[in-house]
């Protein structure tokens, strides 16, 4: 039959010669290959002790940043939620009260801010959409495995960057 690509090779099944029928040369060849692998560097990364090096542009777990005075940058504009292709982000906006100026940077802030890590695809579009440079995907943290589904819904308690020590 005509081959379609003309790349097919015609193979002949030749009867094995004496050394092939003895199997032993082939066996010793195989043994030498496995022996070479015996002394090779191991591919395993011993996980809890050592971790795989991550790229500097790795998109991992989200963080809600504070500004240099320790105030939350997020103004609950909702652009990240609109940008999110997986619809993982929900938030409730609230108005800053008098006396909270050291907590929130603008008059409007997020009362609650939740990201569902089961929906999130870690594309980083929220980071690009944010006009206030409030949300970032960290390159050194990932969302770890958990036992319950609702533990994957990260609220502000787990997303907001901890207060710098000098502002406490």
């Amino acid at each position: 039959m005509q081959s379609l690509s003309n790349r097919a090779k015609k193979l002949e099944k030749k009867p094995m010669n004496f050394s092939e029928r003895m199997y032993l040369p082939a066996i010793f060849q195989g043994l030498s290959i496995t022996m070479r692998h015996f002394f090779k560097k191991k591919a395993t990364i011993r996980y809890p002790e050592e971790t795989r090096p991550m790229s500097t542009v790795w998109r991992g777990l989200h963080v809600l940043k504070r500004d240099e005075k320790g105030r939350e940058r997020c103004t609950a504009c909702g652009l990240c939620a609109v940008a999110c292709p997986a619809e993982a982000i929900t938030m409730v906006a609230g108005e800053r009260k008098r006396g909270e100026e050291n907590l929130y940077r603008e008059e409007k802030y997020a009362i609650s801010y939740e990201i569902n890590m089961l929906r999130c695809i870690f594309c980083g579009l929220c980071e690009e959409a944010c006009p206030k440079a409030a949300i970032f995907l960290q390159n050194d943290k990932t969302a770890p495995a958990r036992y319950e589904r609702d533990e994957f819904i990260y609220g502000k308690d787990r997303l907001v960057e901890p207060m710098p020590i000098e502002n406490l």
Partner: protein
């Protein structure tokens, strides 16, 4: 005096038994490590330093599993199978000389559990009994796959025992004795001026090749592990076994490997003899202890070789197995016997 001998013998038997079990235990660990290293992994390294407590963890796990007996199985034979496999595996190391003689208090003590003047026949008899453990276990399970595995084990062992026996006959023509102690001692003679190098491998290279192939088949190791061929037979003869029944079967395999390695080292690779053993001018006891260390080094090499081959070769097909056994190994071993006999006659004529 009588009590002394009894005590010493008891001590040696106890030591040989303990060492056999210890080496078999750590063979399971070594197998996993060797497999891992050959596949560019690191192997068990969590239980204890370097994973050295892994065999203990495995044993504890097996002990705590449910001992399950299928409803329609023959309960007595179902339990007798693994017990027999383990029993026969442990029995054959009794006649292997693990060293020369120790001179203690003016008396020579042989480092061998029992001296039987038909030592090789004893080993072969026990090894041949070993297949009954697999056979009974597979049959008593009342499971088609187990039965097929058992049948395979039986026919395979019978086929390869013939070639193994013939290769041993050629060896016996060279040594002229059936006693393991004498065979080991003979190999300590001088060869080309080097003492302790009169190894039988130099007289019987083809015989050794046949013997090692048959040893792989007798211990049901890859490439001859068709009785437990999981791609065709689920688990082969131990499909229905759980808990320590399973454990005993797996353990018996490693004891068998140890015994096969020890027999190969003793029969062909000089046993406890090592080059220049009598020319170094060392005290008698030091030479003996060194010889025992050397013997164990040889045994460990063979155990490693068993594992090395396991993680290199694929399994034979069943017709290939039978072809190799009946059409190649048996004629080759008969030819080996004839050539060896002719060479001995020629040597007697010429010198």
């Amino acid at each position: 005096m009588e009590l002394d001998i009894l005590l010493i013998k008891g001590l040696i038997i106890f030591a040989v038994f303990g060492i056999t079990l210890l080496i078999a235990t750590y063979s399971t660990y070594a197998e996993r490590k060797v497999a891992a290293f050959i596949q560019d992994r690191v192997g068990p390294n969590r239980a204890g330093p370097l994973g050295l407590a892994q065999p203990l963890a495995d044993a504890v796990k097996l002990f705590f599993k449910e001992e399950f007996v299928p409803a329609n199985a023959n309960k007595f034979l179902f339990i007798a199978g693994p017990s027999l496999a383990m029993l026969t595996a442990c029995m054959s190391s009794a006649v292997i000389p693990f060293g020369g003689t120790l001179l203690i208090g003016g008396e020579y003590i042989h480092l061998q559990a029992i001296e039987v003047n038909i030592g090789i026949l004893y080993v072969f008899g026990i090894v041949a009994l070993g297949v009954y453990g697999i056979m009974i276990g597979g049959w008593a399970s009342n499971n088609k796959f187990s039965l097929l595995g058992a049948i395979r084990a039986a026919s395979q062992n019978i086929s390869y025992e013939l070639a193994m026996g013939m290769s041993i006959i050629a060896l016996l023509l060279v040594t002229g004795t059936l006693s393991m102690r004498d065979i080991a001692a003979q190999q300590g003679q001088e060869m080309f001026g080097v003492s302790g190098m009169n190894w039988n491998i130099f007289y019987q290279p083809v015989g050794f090749l046949i013997f090692i192939i048959c040893a792989f088949a007798e211990t049901n190791r890859v490439p001859f592990d068709l009785p437990e061929c999981e791609t065709e037979l689920v688990g082969g003869y131990h499909t229905e076994y759980s808990s320590m029944g399973m454990g005993l079967y797996l353990f018996a395999e490693y004891v068998n490997i140890f015994v096969a390695s020890a027999v190969m080292a003793t029969l062909y690779f000089g046993g406890y003899n090592f080059p220049f053993m009598n020319q170094l001018g060392l005290p008698h006891n030091v030479v003996t202890i060194l010889g025992t260390v050397v013997l164990f080094a040889k045994i460990f090499f063979f155990i490693f070789f068993f594992m090395w081959v396991r993680w290199t070769l694929p399994r034979f097909r069943y017709d290939q197995l039978m072809n190799l056994g009946w059409k190649i190994l048996i004629p080759l071993s008969i030819l080996n016997v004839i050539v060896t006999g002719g060479a001995i006659l020629l040597k007697a004529e010429l010198f």
